[in-house]
């Protein structure tokens, strides 16, 4: 965290807050629905929890609903000088306790009464022998998305996390809103931007379009970050004549392929906002960020080291190398090329993202990247959003299903006929979707990313 002058310890919550990097005063630190949590409230909760976190070698599990308590628990860990493991809030206390014990947590913070009123600290006893205690500088531990297999724990030190946070005078008037779960790297990054710039963090009560728009109206955020999928759902839920009293200054996208369609749509809706695509992962941290309003990133960036990160394309996949000093503690082996699992295509002077290698669908023996097909579908007039997934087939291994969200007034049969004709021209036969499902919105996973497994089946 940001270095600050050390005040007298003890006594009032604000003094404790000031001593450990939390601003003081009655200004709102975290807002959620009708709830406004002030900096002093936050500091008081953090101090109370930190007081109970006595004892060396502690590892604090944090399992609270996204909101003020997340920030308070992290501040408490920072205050007590112990590392914290961020756990997703929903699966139930039993799951959280088991997961926390497995990870070697000695303490767990959980919300009282399922969320609303307060936060309690529970002692889990000494860590189990197999527990992964974090050596070295205390920091944060996050679970990776775990799209395949069990989620892994990844550690980041506070200093490294803070290093990727931009602190500027103009950002002190910003109001941040995270459309990511705070327990994900991107959500944590947004949280830290608000915290270190000492400005408001708005945490929507739920990551659904209605809940987000409600808090948007109420708290007028200026800096918003979310996945392209969430942004598409939001744009579709926005009334056409919507005007925002507070202009949006910054929109950040990441976590999925950022296509030109969403960039153009956001540019149209928020003409004055800076649009930034951040490419980051829980393991590697922030690898690149592009703000020119175009999909992909400049080809010239390949092979050039920037902020300790070098990018390379190897067999259609993006690889990343991070300078050893810049690496997270439990990240990839030192100074080695790290396969990202993200497929890219170099076209002209630009490198475009095509989707995850693990999302490849085997259609009759041919590998199809759903992202390539989605990009073509999005070029069809009347298509507002598209998701392509493989449906298991007894005859071909898989057949491609297109899940389409139509623009208002577009006719299903007309759009589908155009889409098929367009795909037949632009794609090999095996990459042409053979089945269509029309959905009202694309399915969103807890991470804010589109849910490819569900494929929108329950949403028509």
């Amino acid at each position: 965290m940001k270095a600050r002058s050390v005040a007298e310890p003890g006594g009032s919550p604000s003094a404790v807050g000031a001593a450990h990097g939390l601003p003081t005063g009655g200004g709102t630190a975290v807002a959620q629905g009708l709830r406004a949590c002030s900096w002093s409230e936050l500091a008081a909760t953090a101090a109370r929890l930190a007081g109970q976190l006595a004892g060396s070698g502690a590892l604090l599990g944090v399992c609270v609903p996204d909101g003020p308590f997340t920030v308070a628990a992290l501040a408490a860990a920072r205050l007590a000088g112990v590392p914290a493991l961020l756990l997703p809030p929903d699966p139930g206390s039993r799951w959280a306790r088991d997961r926390a014990r497995e990870a070697g947590c000695t303490h767990l913070t959980m919300a009282e009464d399922g969320g609303g009123s307060g936060v309690a600290l529970e002692s889990l006893g000494p860590p189990c022998p197999d527990g992964v205690a974090a050596p070295g500088e205390p920091g944060m531990q996050l679970l990776t998305s775990g799209t395949t297999g069990a989620p892994k724990t990844v550690s980041h030190t506070w200093s490294r996390l803070a290093a990727s946070v931009v602190c500027r005078p103009d950002l002190r008037t910003a109001r941040w809103m995270s459309l990511y779960p705070l327990t994900r790297f991107a959500g944590l990054n947004t949280l830290l931007h608000a915290l270190l710039n000492e400005t408001l963090l708005v945490v929507p009560s739920a990551l659904t379009a209605p809940a987000i728009l409600e808090d948007w109206e109420r708290w007028a955020p200026t800096h918003l970050a979310g996945t392209p999928t969430l942004w598409k759902n939001l744009l579709m839920a926005l009334p056409r004549d919507r005007s925002f009293t507070e202009p949006v200054r910054q929109i950040t996208l990441g976590g999925e392929v950022v296509d030109q369609t969403i960039l153009t749509a956001l540019r149209r809706t928020f003409p004055r906002a800076r649009l930034t695509h951040v490419y980051a992962s829980t393991e590697l941290g922030v690898c690149l960020s592009v703000s020119d309003g175009l999909a992909g990133f400049p080809r010239a960036w390949l092979g050039l080291e920037h902020r300790g990160v070098t990018l390379q394309v190897h067999e259609d996949e993006l690889r990343v190398r991070r300078r050893p000093s810049e690496e997270p503690a439990a990240g990839p082996a030192r100074a080695e090329w790290w396969p990202t699992g993200d497929l890219v295509e170099v076209r002209g002077d630009r490198v475009f993202f095509r989707g995850r290698r693990s999302d490849l669908v085997n259609v009759g023996g041919a590998k199809v990247a759903p992202g390539d097909v989605e990009a073509r579908l999005l070029e069809v007039p009347g298509v507002a959003a598209a998701l392509v997934s493989g449906r298991r087939s007894s005859l071909a291994g898989a057949v491609l299903v297109a899940h389409l969200v139509l623009e208002p007034g577009a006719a299903r049969n007309v759009v589908w006929k155009m889409a098929l004709a367009h795909c037949q021209r632009a794609l090999p036969p095996y990459a042409v979707p053979r089945i269509v499902e029309f959905v009202r919105r694309l399915p969103v996973a807890a991470s804010g990313k589109v849910e490819r497994e569900t494929g929108g089946r329950d949403l028509s």
């Binding site: 259609v363 071909a396 098929l420 004709a421 053979r434």
Partner: protein, 81 residues
């Protein structure tokens, strides 16, 4: 499944993309319907959605159905699998 349901589903796939629908009768060879192999896979998937059954799931006989009628027959009786 009646032959009519199969004929209707084939016609639907062709019409969706604006292809002409040929005369489809019991003895029409499947290769003359205008469907390629992936269309066939999609046809079977669509029929599975409509009827809840995919005869190719545990299909072990050597001969692939050659005509529209033979394909329909696979759906008629569990013994056809």
């Amino acid at each position: 499944m009646s032959l009519a349901v199969l004929v209707k589903t084939i016609a639907q796939i062709l019409q969706e993309r604006g292809d002409p629908v040929p005369r489809l009768a019991e003895d029409t060879p499947l290769r003359e319907t205008g469907l390629d192999s992936l269309d066939m896979a999609a046809l079977v998937a669509r029929l599975e959605d409509a009827l809840g059954v995919d005869p190719f799931e545990e299909w072990s006989t050597a001969d692939f159905p050659q005509t529209v009628g033979e394909l329909a027959a696979l759906y008629e009786s569990p013994l056809g699998r």
